[in-house]
Amino acid sequence: MVREMSAGPSRRRLAGALTALGGVTLLAACAEDAPQDTWQPAGENAQRIQDLQWWVFAIAGAVGLIVFATIAWVSVRYRDRGQPIPRQTHGRPALEIGLTVLPALILVGVAIPTIGTLMDLSRTSDTECVVNVTGQQWWWEVDYPPQEGCGGFSEPIVTSGQMVIPTGTKVLVRGTSRDVIHSWWIPRLNGKRDMVPGRVQTVRLQADRPGIYAGQCTEFCGLSHANMRMEVVALDPADFETWKANQLADYTAPMEGSLAAAGEQVFISQCATCHQVDGLVNADGVPIIAQPQERVFAGAAPNLTNLTTRNTFAGATWDLLTPTCRDDVWNASPEEFGAAYLAGVSADCLNEVDLREWLRNAPAKKPMYADPEQLGPTDGLNRGMPYLALSEAQIDQIIAYLLERQ
């Protein structure tokens, strides 16, 4: 029985070591294009983290290999081959202390650069542009406060899902939350920061090249935690100015008698109570101010003024662009990415399927608290978009109207 077992452990050691090897070292190889890959920095902050972390992984892998090799060797060398009972040694303090001090020194070596990087990543004095981010149950609101940075903002711009920033500028994201704790994380630009209600948290963000950088809420926040995504779109400063001008352009009502005009009326009757469209006026010319706090527990709903300049909707989880148009934008080379993104959502590029499904029955597509019985504790207020029971015709009209929100 002794003979048969002795072969076992060496195989055991190899299996354990191989998997560990696979797990730790192969990770260092870069992946093609997982959008949220934490090993592909595209900004100065993420680069600093990457510079610090890759060799910590390397050391860990090395130490792991040493330990596994020793155990494998010991289990082969000292297996029971009938030798006499070994000497009952109780330990060698000198060896012990040595093998304690060694890891301690390695850790001190790791600790010093950690503190340096940590302090740099939390500096806010060199901010060139401020963007406010507010998380609520299951989508991100982005607003640009009036400031001199990023080319200067005279009045605030409110958008959701995609945050557009100029490349090369040190952006400071000031984030909070309206209901539960969320977490703002764009892996390729910087580490994550929890957005805690009642607190203001700051995250440094900087993108070197134009492109879309994907991220996702990473602090458990209830039903649709998985469908609460965000993207940061980096544009050259010139493209950024055109984007900004377009956002601040005032409202152009749809042509009389067109499908979009009918859509506008449906929008006013069904959607305007929650969704704000700047410049929308009702029948007697009074500008409509959305009152989301009457229908939504968190007290806010996405601002749809320039919906179709963004290419995602419903918490940046579904695309407004058809898959082909989407790939054109996502895989565009940094040079012509700006133009591809600013083209927005054209009629033929519109992804009718998801948008129509969403307008038909939003809670079915994205789990939200919408059925009336369960709304007792929030005294009747929804958490997320309710079921609106729109007819197909109304949906066509609304889509036509939204297409004009360029």
Binding site: Q88, T89, H90, G91, R92, P93
Partner: protein, 270 residues
């Protein structure tokens, strides 16, 4: 709902360790019982752990002379007729000390919650508007006095003077009841002055902290009254003086916690 203290909250079951040896408490400790000897075993020098080098054999040699004169473990007793323990402290007392240790953490948590939320009274009355310092300092003094009478009770219990033990236990329970009565009055007065449990963060953390302490004092009063009942009906199991001492430990703990709470909550200006 009584808070999370283990049944130790009630009269700690006068558990006698099931150590070997006759359980009847009756028999007096044998004269030659040298509990000191039990300690000597522990003082075996650190050499108990054989240094590298000397084989098991050599090490055992120098121990054997120590062990020969140790009486057989079976009739080992400590002084109060309880069972000999390795540290000399009786099991119940060590159990109570450990329980009080964990209670410190409980009150530590509650006090830190209060200190965090003391400034946030939103629309409700603030701490300085609502506290009646003279009254609370008198009630704190009463609780302090109850600790004094508790000490008298424990000393008369060790002297086996049953009459005075019962007397002082009752007096301690009465003073405790006065203190709790004062707290109930204070809570009602605050409620009338517009500070309910859910008025503000300050009020809910204040009521939680002082409410928990009040509950612990009430449990202490019940323990005292039960102890008086059990002594008068000779139903105390195990060593009477030790049970009184345990209740005394609990009572002094509750009193000291109140001193800390009183200074932090009432005296330090918000």
């Amino acid at each position: 709902m009584s808070d999370a203290d283990a049944p130790h909250g009630a009269t700690p079951p006068a558990e006698k360790t099931p150590e070997h040896g006759a359980p009847d408490e009756g028999n007096a400790p044998t004269p030659d019982d040298a509990s000191a000897v039990a300690e000597k075993v522990d003082e075996i020098p650190m050499g108990g752990v054989p240094e590298p080098g000397p084989t098991g054999e050599a090490q055992r040699a120098d121990d054997s002379n120590l062990l020969t004169e140790l009486p057989d473990h079976a009739e080992h007793r400590d002084l109060h007729g309880g069972h000999a323990t390795t540290t000399g402290l009786s099991n119940n007392k060590m159990g109570m000390w450990l329980f009080l240790g964990s209670e410190c953490l409980l009150f530590g948590g509650l006090i830190s919650t209060y200190m965090l939320y003391r400034g946030r009274q939103a629309d409700g009355p603030g701490p300085d508007q609502i506290y009646d310092i003279p009254f609370t300092s008198v009630s704190s003094f009463v609780l302090l006095m109850s600790s004094l009478t508790m000490v008298l009770a424990v000393s008369s219990a060790t002297r086996n003077d049953e009459r005075n033990t019962k007397l002082w236990l009752t007096i301690t329970a009465l003073l405790g009841a006065t203190f709790v009565g004062g707290q109930v009055y204070e809570f009602t007065a605050f409620y009338r002055e517009g500070m309910g449990f859910t008025t503000s963060l300050f009020s809910s953390s204040f009521f939680t902290l002082t409410g928990f302490h009040g509950a612990h004092v009430t449990i202490g009063i019940i323990m005292l009254m039960a102890l008086v009942g059990m002594i008068s009906r000779q139903r105390v199991v195990g060593d009477k003086a030790e049970v009184v001492e345990l209740v005394g430990l609990y009572w002094h703990f509750v009193d000291i916690v109140w001193i800390v709470i009183f200074t932090l909550v009432y005296l330090i200006p918000a």
